[in-house]
């Protein structure tokens, strides 16, 4: 591996001119990932990026690894085939809120359910960028778009809530421009054996500019972000004096301030990333009433699909003879016809 250790961002940058709009959040994500790759210690030739169609899905063209820019919504299915065919490969899926949650919802669902070992990154800009700005399944109610000139009426999907509902064993969230946080989350995702799902809030300055400002704004960050750490209390606010409390009988959550009307430190929920109920609760928290959780919401590993498949196969091979076609052809009942 030493060879790879010495790799740098440049080694993971392809010769293709990057073609996103100026100011697109995708640039920041690309840079972060190109920086991260050398530290993962996976040789370039063993790394594969697979995407569907969308601005976000152009990602593979810019990575000096193996890559496949496939068709709209199908990246998880194609990536599953790649991983099943060669579990040695380190397979990443890059998708968007339209690609992954609209047309591709079913494949994402089943890739997560099967828990096949892929890193699935969903760039969520709450809009269809490539096709010039139609609303997406994650767009907020009232989104004005060419296909909803009077505002959208349907309720948005919460990607992390969906992922947990699908049976995902690793679910996390980060922000396009927060390189440090995004890097740590991606390292965790990569380390996780099994399907890992990462939602990345991504700004589309052209068709949906500023929708994440409330949480990206450094000034209000302390109030608007709930930074998750396993085993740490769910506190936030300027001097971490605020926290999330749960009423055990009705399971209602509220924001409390430590020290105020009898609230003590140990009334605050403690993050347990292996706890599914807590993860589901966190995935649904949103502003303005609550801060938005960032980091690893859920991590509860179990045997990845492809491991199970090959393990079973090796088991079976012990009983079934050698892969001999002539023997196969002569298996079962046969008879001879003499001259």
């Amino acid at each position: 591996m030493n060879a790879e250790q010495k790799l740098t961002l440049k080694d993971f940058s392809s010769d293709q001119e990057v073609r996103w709009c100026p100011g697109c959040g995708d640039y920041a994500i690309l840079k972060t990932i190109q920086k991260l790759m050398p530290n993962l210690g996976v040789p370039k030739e063993k790394t594969v990026f697979i995407s569907g169609i969308g601005c976000s899905s152009r990602f593979p063209y810019y990575m000096e690894t193996y890559g496949f820019h496939t068709i709209h919504g199908r990246a998880p299915a194609i990536a599953s085939g790649v991983k099943l065919a060669n579990p040695e490969l380190d397979v990443w899926v890059v998708t968007g809120d339209g690609d992954g949650l609209s047309i591709g919802g079913n494949h994402l669902l089943h890739a997560l359910r099967r828990n096949i070992n892929l890193q699935i990154l969903l760039f969520n800009n709450e809009i269809y960028g490539l096709t010039k700005g139609q609303y997406s399944p994650t767009s907020q109610v009232g989104t004005m778009s060419p296909s909803t000139p009077n505002g959208s009426v349907d309720l948005p999907l919460r990607p992390c809530t969906f992922a947990i509902g699908a049976g995902a064993r690793f679910v996390a969230r980060s922000i396009d421009t927060e390189a440090k946080h995004l890097t740590s989350v991606l390292e965790r995702a990569h380390g996780h054996k099994g399907a890992s799902f990462v939602e990345i809030y991504q700004n589309c300055p052209v068709y949906n500019d500023g929708i994440f400002d409330y949480i990206k704004d450094k000034k209000t960050a302390a109030e608007s972000r709930l930074i998750l750490e396993h085993g740490k209390a769910l506190t936030f606010g300027d001097d971490d004096q605020k926290g999330i409390r749960l009423d055990p009988r009705n399971m209602q959550l509220d924001v409390v301030t430590i020290g105020e009307n009898g609230v003590e430190e140990d009334h605050i929920l403690v993050h347990d990333e292996t706890n599914k109920v807590m993860a589901q609760m966190l995935a649904d928290l949103k502003g303005p009433d609550f801060p938005e959780p960032l980091g690893v919401l859920y991590c509860n590993p179990t045997e990845p699909y492809e491991i199970g498949v090959y393990a079973q196969r090796n088991e079976v091979r012990k009983s079934l003879g050698s892969p001999d076609i002539n023997a196969l052809l002569r298996s079962g009942h046969t008879w001879n016809v003499e001259k």
Binding site: G67, A77, I78, S80, N326, H333
Partner: protein
């Protein structure tokens, strides 16, 4: 023509007939398919040539006695080559009234009926739609009837094994088989062996079945049967010596794919989603894990096609399988495989359409879909299987074409050959020529656009190979670099080369042969797929009647063998029988400007020999 009349007409000595059609019919619960396949095996061992036609009910488990729950198995066997399951039935075994009423129309005048009259209860008669009992209302007078209380006979025979009443009656089919085996002088050994190995864990069940089988046989020997009903001899056919087995089309196809993988020295990535009648291929391969194949039941057909494409990208051979409705869903993914020029095998086991159509019935109506069922210009090789046995070679050929020319290949089978079974002279795999795939390893001025100058195949560089990191995708790519290109000239060039690559495959496939008859003449009957047998027999009969007709069977539905046009031009007329409203015939007309005539049948049933015979004769008459 009845069995008995055949004695006369076929002018053979003794109770000898040249060929016979027997159909076993009963409730889906009565085990008719099992009965049929046992009789088939015995017949093959006896040395007759044969062909079979299983006809499953659409329902999974219909209530006992319902007409829509009738399951039938037909076998045609004889002393000359037999390639269809036969037109009329000579001997009909009907285990209940529903089986009788739904099958009687196919029985020849004077034909033999064997019924279990214990099952002709009022309840069952009503269920079947009889107002009076056909066994005694005279409606069966035109036939020879053997009516036996099989239930009673069976209970008698299996008493020693102390089975429950329910289980004891399950042996009825074996008793009936025994009787029919007596009728045609078949040996019970293979059936007995089969029963004993199948029920090795439950010897009493095995022995009870054996006892029932023997009892049915001795019933034939001892009982008083209607006049003219005695043991019939069907002379052995002149079958090639060698080792034989029975195979369904699905089995042979599964074996062929595994064999193809070995010849290409590639692992298989088989991804599918269940659908009748294609599911069995998924099942067959799922239980062959000793071979280098991963089977994947995807969430839908789109995912299956995509997983197979992913497999090919990763360096396996992706194979996906479905039937018409599922193939419709794969169109966009197949177009991606065409654009990225990745090897892929798509198996379509055709069924009755449109839409959900007739899932358990057979049809050939997906040829147009194979040719054109995608957006844009995406031509690809298409090959079709002619019979159960042919599935093996066709599967190997599909793998060869897909890997040699880095292209998706569509393999067309259908419900008939997938489920029917026929004896197979087991080939020696060592005699097959291998076609190992050469993956790219040379990083020296590598581009993903690189082509084999001769075959025009795109380079196959699999992830994991150092120095060959590259990106592919569905957007048009530069002919030189493989990078995205919106350049007009380049798009023209890429379109041309994609087309040229497929067209020139004609240089790598064998010339079109004539299956039967001369290379020129008054009429060529041109068929494809599972109509082979019926056409073959029809042409044979017409030639026997002195007609100047030949049978040409196409395996390559796209592109065509180089000599195909010139061959067809050697005939005054061309007739194309198809189980669709006319698809292959249109391609022949447009390609060769030949005024090919059509013969179409879309009833979910295979052609009958006489339907084609009739068409041939009327065509030749009209033209004289």
């Amino acid at each position: 023509m009845s069995v008995v009349d055949k004695l006369v007409s076929q002018e053979l000595e003794g109770n000898t007939v040249r060929d016979v059609v027997v159909r076993f019919a009963g409730d889906s619960g009565d085990g008719m398919q099992l009965t049929g396949s046992n009789f088939t095996e015995a017949t093959a061992i006896y040395g007759n040539d044969l062909a079979t036609f299983p006809d499953f009910p659409a329902e999974i488990r219909a209530p006992a006695g319902a007409t829509f729950g009738v399951s039938a198995f037909q076998i045609y066997f004889g002393s000359e080559d037999v390639t269809t399951a036969g037109d009329e039935v000579d001997v009909l075994v009907a285990m209940n009234p529903a089986a009788l009423i739904t099958n009687l129309s196919d029985l020849v005048y004077g034909g033999l009926i064997i019924v279990d009259d214990g099952s002709f209860t009022d309840k069952n008669l009503v269920r079947a739609g009889y107002s009076s009992n056909p066994l005694d209302d005279g409606s069966l007078d035109p036939y020879r009837l053997i009516s036996i209380e099989i239930g009673k006979q069976v209970l008698e025979a299996v008493k020693p094994f102390g089975l429950s009443h329910k289980f004891a009656l399950r042996c009825k089919n074996m008793w009936t088989l025994g009787l029919v085996m007596w009728l045609f002088d078949r040996s019970r050994d293979s059936t007995i062996d089969g029963l004993r190995s199948k029920f090795s864990k439950k010897p009493e069940i095995a022995e009870a079945n054996v006892a029932a089988l023997n009892a049915g046989h001795s019933y034939g020997e001892t009982a008083e049967l209607p006049s003219g009903v005695e043991v019939y001899k069907v002379p052995k056919a002149h079958v090639q010596p060698g080792l034989y087995r029975n195979t369904t089309g699905t089995e042979a196809l599964a074996f062929g794919l595994l064999a193809g993988g070995q010849l290409a020295e590639l692992p298989l990535m088989f991804a599918s989603y269940p659908i009748t009648p294609a599911s069995n291929l998924l099942h067959a391969l799922s239980s062959q894990k000793q071979f280098d194949v991963v089977t994947f039941q995807a969430e839908d057909e789109i995912a299956a096609a995509c997983a197979a494409i992913g497999g090919s990208f990763a360096g396996s051979l992706g194979v996906t399988s479905s039937s018409g409705p599922g193939i419709s869903l794969k169109g966009e993914a197949i177009s991606l495989a065409c654009a990225t020029e990745l090897p892929l095998v798509i198996v379509n086991t055709q069924r009755g359409g449109p839409s959900t159509g007739l899932p358990t019935k057979t049809e050939q109506s997906d040829l147009n879909q194979a040719l054109f069922g995608r957006h844009a210009d995406t031509s690809l090789p298409i090959i079709a299987a002619a019979s159960c046995v042919d599935c093996f070679d066709v599967a190997i050929e599909a793998v060869r074409l897909a890997t040699k020319f880095t292209t998706p290949v569509i393999l067309l089978s259908d419900g008939y050959i997938a489920n029917a079974s026929e004896p197979w002279r087991v080939p020696d795999f060592d005699e097959y020529e291998s076609f190992p795939v050469q993956f790219e390893t040379d990083a020296e001025n590598f581009t993903p656009a690189k082509r084999d100058p001769e075959t025009l195949a795109r380079v196959w560089a699999k992830p994991g190979t150092p120095g060959l990191e590259h990106r592919i995708g569905g957007i048009e790519k530069s002919f030189e670099t493989g990078d995205i290109s919106y350049d007009p000239e380049n798009h023209q060039k890429m379109t041309d080369v994609r087309k040229a690559k497929i067209d020139q495959i004609a240089n790598y496939i064998p010339d079109q042969q004539v299956s039967l008859g001369r290379e020129v003449g008054a009429l060529a009957v041109v068929g494809w797929g599972s109509t082979f047998g019926a056409i073959h027999q029809a042409v044979k009969r017409c030639r026997a009647d002195g007609l100047e007709v030949s049978h040409i069977h196409a395996r390559y539905m796209w592109p065509y063998p180089k000599n195909f046009e010139q061959l067809l031009n050697g005939f005054e007329q061309v007739l194309v029988p198809e189980m669709n409203v006319g698809q292959f015939v249109e391609v022949i007309r447009s390609r060769f400007l030949i005024d090919a005539k059509r013969l179409n049948k879309v009833s979910g049933q295979p052609f009958k020999i006489r339907e084609i015979e009739k068409a041939i004769k009327s065509l030749l008459e009209s033209s004289t």
